[in-house]
Symmetry: C2
Subunit: 477 residues, 2 copies
């Protein structure tokens, strides 16, 4: 492996991150809060970034290994330097790493027990890294991973229309620019709507950051319950839903063909799951907590959208619901939003293809010689792609099982271990029992925290990107 190429990119990333930290610094100045967390952060990050950049400046070509290493270690490096403001403001290193990883991976799993005790600028930083993380994920998924044979451009609609196939670098830059545009547009819209619905401008920005990134950190311990406003819940639901859609599809729908979204099979299935799950949840809530129909609808829709898009906001403490209702949300954690969105989880398209595959396999037993290809959006899906979806699911599941097992061994109840594991691997955020939406992950043992930090990292980078680093093959020669 050519480590110079990798280290050079890490340098560039850090130099960029140092600049980004100026924004929370300005927030700190505005609110008259301690600026030290960000000054130290900027200085250390810039020094490290400039050192790497000067020392390893390189224009050598990326090969497979370099690309994997850049993505995986890039995310890790940014996360590590992202801890500096947290550590300076008094959070322990392991907790700071957990919080920073939960931020940059847009997981939104917090270890802060008393959120309101932290300064506005720290909470701003905590929200902003999720928004940046969310954007990073989209660019990663649409522009970088297809080149590493992870995800199919055709399948996941990663083809941005109107761009010519050129050299890789300018293409990534062009694609990223278009996606930034969509991202900024949607974010501005949400800030405006939340502000008009009565939020302060600070709250509007911070909540938009975490909504569009499908992240779910809230500056309030009570999450969205703090506002107790059906209007704000409706706005956030809408934008969580949008952030769970493939951004290329959103771009196409806004700028090229307004109806294309309604012809997309993944979008239709995504919507169908949300409606079905909401209906089931309303029914179980009617029996389980005996609320009136409107309240059931209000709770159900918000929570279903929040969990399937892996945002993780809560408009009610769903951890107190009976298990017949909680299980609906647990199942949403195993689906996730659409591919190419900021959502985590296995994604709707993979679940859909898995179901089509299972159906096809049963068909084969009756007609062993018949060939019935799997179709998606009207086109035949190559066997190789089906194969990759399945291997993704298998490895995802094995990691989930392993981490649940390890966490369970640490005197944590099964439901906590199970949901903490999927909530971090799927980048959801809150789980159930000890890690419910109104509590924090701080109660978990340190080793469990390390496992969950790994989960967030692995889950966010589409599993393979990180897992290959753990094979001896990767490090050979």
């Amino acid at each position: 492996m050519n480590s110079a190429v990798v280290l050079s990119v890490l340098g560039t990333l850090l130099r960029f991150q140092g600049i980004i930290m100026i924004i929370p610094l300005l927030v700190a100045v505005y609110y008259n809060e301690s600026t030290m967390p960000f000054i130290v952060g900027i200085v250390l990050t810039e020094i490290a970034g400039t050192f790497l950049w000067l020392r390893y400046k390189s224009d050598a070509e990326w090969k497979h290994r370099e690309a994997f290493a850049t993505v995986a270690f890039g995310w890790l490096t940014v996360t590590i330097f992202g801890t500096i403001p947290f550590i300076i403001s008094g959070i322990s290193p392991i907790n700071a790493l957990f919080e920073s990883m939960a931020g940059f991976t847009a997981t939104g799993a917090t270890i802060l027990d008393n959120i309101e005790s932290h300064s506005k600028s720290i909470l701003f930083w905590r929200s902003m890294i999720q928004w940046i993380g969310g954007m990073g994920i989209i660019v990663l998924f649409i522009a970088i991973l297809p080149k590493l044979n992870i995800g199919s451009r055709h399948l996941f609609r990663a083809e941005v229309p109107g761009l010519k196939e050129e050299k890789i670098k300018p293409r990534i830059r062009e694609t990223a620019k278009i996606l930034w545009m969509v991202y900024l547009l949607i974010s501005s819209l949400q800030i405006a709507m939340l502000y008009l619905a009565g939020m302060s401008i600070y709250d509007a920005i911070v909540h938009t950051f975490t909504t569009i990134g499908s992240a779910g950190f809230s500056p309030y311990g009570e999450s969205i319950v703090a506002f107790n406003s059906p209007l704000i819940e409706a706005i956030i639901t809408l934008f969580m839903f949008i952030a769970g859609v493939n951004f290329v599809l959103l771009y196409r729908t806004f700028y090229i063909d307004h109806t294309s979204i309604f012809r997309d099979e993944e979008f239709k299935f995504y919507t169908a799951i949300i409606l079905t799950a909401t209906a089931v949840l309303i029914l179980t809530l009617r029996y389980g907590i005996a609320a009136d129909p409107f309240t059931c609808l209000r709770y159900a829709l918000f929570q279903v959208v929040s969990i399937i898009t892996t945002t993780g906001f809560a408009s009610v403490d769903f951890n107190l619901w009976p298990d017949s209702s909680r299980i609906v949300l647990v199942f949403m954690m195993f689906i996730g939003g659409c591919a190419g969105s900021t959502s985590g989880g296995p994604t709707v398209v993979r679940v859909l293809l898995l179901l089509k595959y299972a159906n096809g396999e049963l068909f084969k037993f009756i007609h062993p010689r018949a060939v019935k290809p799997i179709k998606f959006n009207g086109k035949v899906v190559p066997a190789e792609i089906i194969h990759q979806v399945i291997s993704f699911m298998v490895i995802y599941f094995l990691i989930f099982v392993t981490s649940t097992f390890l966490i369970s061994l640490m005197n944590v109840d099964i439901v906590t271990a199970f949901t903490a594991s999927i909530a971090t691997l799927g980048n959801v955020g809150p789980g159930l029992n000890l890690v419910g939406p109104m509590s924090s992950y701080n109660c978990m043992p340190s080793i469990a925290k390390l496992i969950m930090i790994m989960n967030m990292w692995i889950g966010r980078l589409e599993v393979f990107t990180v897992m290959v680093l753990f094979t001896p093959e990767f490090w050979k020669k």
Copy 2:
């Protein structure tokens, strides 16, 4: 589909079943208990069997569909007629169906709340159907399923050495005869050992029936705790372990090459999992229940072997253990014993191949063009077999998820729903919480019982055999 062929075989099965019922009838006579349950059972079963046999006598050839229908409906029919003794002795029809299905599928999940209140002959019948079910499973797996493209003869060592490839019917008969021999031999050995260890002859026979069938019904509400004897526990552990091994491999080891068992990759992995899980369980028990090392070992080994072989006996109420210990047993439920044994679950060989597959997939990302075939017992496994293992796992998992979800909706806690689902689909027997080893499934809602009856049936017949019946394709034309 040629239903005459199917109905004719069902007739033969029932006529055979009627004759089998003479044995519990004799037990009833011996213990001076009511003979009505069995007299009614014999009469009705023989009438139905003879009617079908006379009406549909057929020598037409089995095709794919006929074979699937025969296996799936055969098991169901035998189960339904098996309920007669239970119903006559006062058990409700749905409970009788549950108990009979738990018997013939060797699941051992009971709905009897007060087991000791039932007559010795009824408890004998309840144990015997598990022994017969267990034998049926081995013949099914080794002699019938490979012909339906379910399971590979090569892979699962379904090739009985010394038999020539001839016509299908005589071959099945020959294979079945050899397996019966091994089955009877092991059973006689266990009866003798349990008797020598102090059990009554009745208890020895009944416990052998349920051990060799990997079934786990006990005539005592307290299961093996009732004996409180380390010697009896050790004997049962040994025979549970043996019943979890491929019977063809046992045959080969006894009669042809005594060392062949130690060269078998599945057997080695099976043993390794048991030893590892026992070690982990001992550690968690030392901390969790603070027992002395010998007691920890005694509890851990018995329970691990009981659950991985999907027998389901309990030598202690493991439901009272802390979650860090219970989770070890939950994981065993998702593995199961070796293929071609009486155990249920996905089986060790499938889990092993899935791990090899996942490992190979990671390798591919680093060397996209390299071809590294998966090997098992020194031979390359054809891609088609790997494909089938994966499709099995996917469909198994989807059924598990669906049934957990449906059971959860019925006001049952998540852990109960989760373990009840896998304990029935994997033919294990006991689960956790409400369905722990010292309780019964009677507390579950009726619809949940029906779902679990389906689970036992589907799980026992290697999933595909039943699932194809639910495809519209199967019933076309």
